[in-house]
């Protein structure tokens, strides 16, 4: 359905429409509830995830305030434990993964020349599940206490029944049920992305002509697909132990707490690649554009990504080096962990070689991408040090690990995300984010980030363990902790600058052209923002970096030769001002919302053991599925 309604259509339409009829409008505020447009969904994912980023950031600031001095009294032990648990849970499940879904959602179809994803309503369902899952988990603060067993929720601490009082409150139930819920949404999105990338590429786009971004999102989707089930299994087992007195992790009955750790980390290690590969994907797109050179070694970068996807399944027990699994097992995982450093390192060198010899424009997206390279490398190197098992027995569960993963996930992923936001903002919103504020954002973030996390390498080696709500005076940890706290507030300042930039741009931002950066991939072959149907005509692809090759060719020396302006390099809308009428887009729908709504209802039923509530939720879900499957994907009205 197009957004233009011509007069003749109005005459043919029935006057009365009830609220129960299928929604039709694709504009206006209500359309955001019923949309199935991947671009709108992406914006919803991104905005919600950024909101959770702020929430997780506030939690981090509270943690840092508590730890700024020895014997801190800002947060009680109970509150601190909730905050570090929720900070981790939020950043991993409510910020990192959804932001990857946001970028993937917006750009995967555009980059492969498609009009939408394979399953638009499933896409929307994935978003609602994310939103409801996040609200569900956070509602625990008001309903008896937030999760406080750590983001990783080790049994038997979390699996011991409530009556034992190991952890105050039913936070662990909210955590287990909430994560199962979020997992359902993630798997739905993973299925969607896989089918889209495999089935809906424009004619001529073979797999090896896909942008690296698409490749990485495809690997991430497969990782998600296979990593979520072991986690779901572990969470069900924890929930059953807690609430139904099963013995999965009850050592007195022969249960094995290490089973939990194994299942969790079989999920948990691929999870960290699920988190970082989108960041690598974004950086792989930004660097070539701002160096005016193609990505160095496309095939190697793609195969490294796939290799990381495979090898990532063979390293999980490196999170368990201190658990006493024996020298043979620890040696094996030590070696596999070292091995996975190779494809990762290869990518770093390929990225640097991309920039080498280029014509480098140090605009904000590029600064963030460069920051990614340096900081991710530092994090990767501390990771390699972790692979030295004896050294890891000193490092694990200390602030050294905290430094390591923040370098890869913040210095890496978050920097890449900010780079992606600055890079693609013009395409998504039609305006350029302010460049001066962007640079200020970047530099404050670099300073704040490194000030916060670099000292933690030393705190860890000097004996400060993780997950401790306070530490005594006389340990010599005070100065570095204070430094880290100050750094955290500098980060907060940089995020504030970002928000100011967004608001400023909304009011007075410079309008963006279709191709502000002289970019390489197909999403730039549309207006800014693109129309609902993306492309008036599906492009026919003949090479990698298809858009670039419609603008430039290479001479014998391998230097660029600008091609004369041609219809293929122009956005079709410019040539033909009339909206195309023969494109059938999937229609909006209520059912993803309804189906998703059933899940938190069931969730509350499970947590509070209200079986009638569970039944209601199941009915809502069943009703939603039924209505959805009997509704066609697209309604033709003319």
């Amino acid at each position: 359905m197009t957004t233009v309604e011509d007069a003749s259509a109005l005459l043919h339409e029935p006057v009365k429409r009830s609220i129960l009829d299928r929604p039709r409008s694709t504009t206006g505020p209500w359309s955001w509830f019923t949309t199935v447009d991947h671009k709108k969904i992406a914006i919803m994912y991104g905005t919600t995830a950024m909101f959770f980023f702020l929430v997780g950031g506030v939690e981090a600031l509270m943690i840092r305030l508590q730890l700024a001095q020895p014997n801190g009294t800002i947060l009680s032990a109970a509150r601190y434990n909730e905050f570090f648990t929720m900070h981790g849970t939020t950043m991993v499940f409510l910020m990192g993964m959804p932001l990857a879904a946001a970028f993937g959602n917006y750009f995967l179809p555009l980059m492969i020349g498609a009009r939408d994803v394979a399953f638009p309503r499933l896409n929307m369902f994935g978003y609602w599940v994310f939103l409801f899952g996040g609200i569900f988990i956070y509602s625990s603060f008001a309903l008896g206490g937030a999760p406080d067993g750590g983001w990783f929720g080790y049994a038997p601490l979390t699996s011991t029944p409530l009556s034992q009082g190991f952890l105050p409150g039913r936070g662990a139930d909210f955590w287990a049920v909430g994560l199962i819920m979020l997992g359902i949404g993630s798997v739905a999105t993973a299925v969607n992305f896989i089918v889209t990338a495999l089935n809906m590429r424009a004619p001529g786009m073979t797999m090896m002509k896909m942008p690296v971004f698409v490749w990485m999102m495809l690997v991430v989707a497969f990782l998600t697909l296979f990593a979520m089930p072991p986690l779901t299994a572990a969470l069900i087992q924890v929930f059953m132990d807690r609430n139904f007195h099963t013995n999965f992790f009850n050592a007195a009955a022969g249960g094995d707490p290490l089973l939990y750790q194994n299942l969790f980390w079989i999920f948990g290690h691929p999870e960290v690649y699920i988190l970082i590969l989108p960041g690598m994907a974004i950086v792989s797109e930004i660097l070539p554009v701002f160096s005016r050179k193609p990505l160095f070694g496309y095939s190697v970068v793609v195969f490294s990504g796939i290799a990381i996807g495979f090898l990532g399944w063979g390293v999980w027990a490196h999170h368990m080096f201190a658990t006493g699994i024996g020298p043979v097992a620890t040696s094996a995982f030590s070696l596999s962990t070292m091995l996975i450093g190779i494809p990762t390192g290869v990518k770093i060198f390929n990225w640097l070689a991309t920039v080498w010899g280029g014509s480098v424009r140090l605009r904000t997206p590029m600064l963030f991408a460069l920051g990614f390279i340096a900081q991710f490398t530092i994090g990767g190197l501390s990771g390699v040090l972790h692979s030295i098992v004896p050294a890891d027995t000193q490092q694990t569960d200390t602030y050294f690990v905290v430094a390591h993963f923040h370098y890869v996930l913040f210095g890496g992923l978050v920097f890449a995300i900010f780079g992606g936001i600055y890079y693609w903002y013009p395409k998504i919103f039609g305006k350029m984010l302010n460049e001066s504020l962007g640079k200020l954002n970047f530099w404050l973030m670099v300073i704040g980030f490194n000030l916060t996390f670099f000292p933690m390498h030393f705190l860890g080696m000097q004996g400060e363990p993780r997950r401790t709500y306070t530490y005594p005076s006389g340990m010599g940890w005070g100065t570095l902790n204070l430094m880290a706290t100050i750094g955290a507030f500098v980060i907060a300042l940089s995020v504030l600058v970002f928000l100011v930039n967004v608001i400023f741009t909304r009011q007075r931002g410079e309008l963006a052209p279709e191709d502000p950066w002289d970019a390489r991939t197909l999403e730039w072959l549309t207006s800014s923002p693109p129309p609902e149907y993306n492309f008036a005509e599906i492009p026919i692809v003949t090479s990698r970096d298809e858009f670039w090759h419609r603008k430039y060719t290479e001479d014998d020396e391998g230097r660029l030769v600008k091609l004369p302006p041609s219809p293929e390099a122009e956005i079709p809308a410019r040539r033909d001002p009339h909206e195309p009428h023969n494109i059938h887009m999937p229609s909006p729908s209520y059912w993803p919302f309804v189906l998703a709504l059933g899940l938190p209802i069931m969730g509350y039923g499970f947590v509070f053991k209200l079986w009638w509530l569970l039944a209601i939720g199941a009915l809502v879900t069943f009703f939603g599925i039924n209505a959805w499957t009997t509704e066609p994907a697209s309604e033709e009205t003319h």
């Binding site: 498609a114 009009r115 939408d116 994803v117 394979a118 399953f119 638009p120 798997v187 993973a190 299925v191 969607n192 896989i194 089918v195 495999l198 089935n199 809906m200 590429r201 424009a202 004619p203 001529g204 697909l225 296979f226 089930p229 072991p230 779901t232 299994a233 069900i236 087992q237 059953m240 139904f244 007195h245 099963t246 013995n247 999965f248 007195a252 009955a253 022969g254 249960g255 094995d256 089973l259 299942l263 149907y533 492309f535 005509e537 599906i538 026919i540 003949t542 195309p580 023969n582 494109i583 059938h584 887009m585 999937p586 069943f622 039924n626 499957t629 009997t630 066609p632 994907a633 697209s634």
Partner: protein, 211 residues
Amino acid sequence: MAQTAVAPSEPAAPHAASAHQTNTGVSNNKLAIWVFLASESLFFGAFIATYFLYRGRDAQFLKGPSPSSLLNIPFTSVTSFVLLMSSLTMVLALAAIQRGDHRRFRIWILATALFGMTFIGGQVYEFTEFYREGLHLGTNLFGTTFFVLTGLHGAHVTIGIVWLLSLWGRSMQGNLGPEKHEAVEIAGLYWHFVDVVWIFIFTAVYLIPQH
């Protein structure tokens, strides 16, 4: 240069699920169910692995009723056979709708659902028997792993039965024409998967001897 080019004015619409318009040649819906079932395999794999890890451990810990004292292999073999036969009727149902025989389709899909319900009935009987013999969720490791593993499988079968009955219902309403045969094929894939998982569970729990 250009491969099978679609005419420029005819877009590759997202709901074009028909096979010839996708890059892989497999329709979107069918590819999706295969991908989803791959995920489900790991889900059951985790619980089967848990079962194997905890096999035989009860002897050193909580003891309680043991598998050999409870499991009724002849009985469960019969119900397993019924479930296996339901896959056959599923195949027949698909063949019927593909050739447009709606009456036969409804007979075979209903038969599939009924066989599934018989299997579930057998499970319910077995669960209540074990419960009466003193095996609860928390009695020992066998109670924990057995009930949760087979319970989750039973839940998946139940969802499948509801799915099949809804297809039957739609056919009764005239809403399931031969062009929608893929919907049946996809339900069939799910049903066969649930059957295969049972084969693994049956082997692991009932057939491999334990004490």
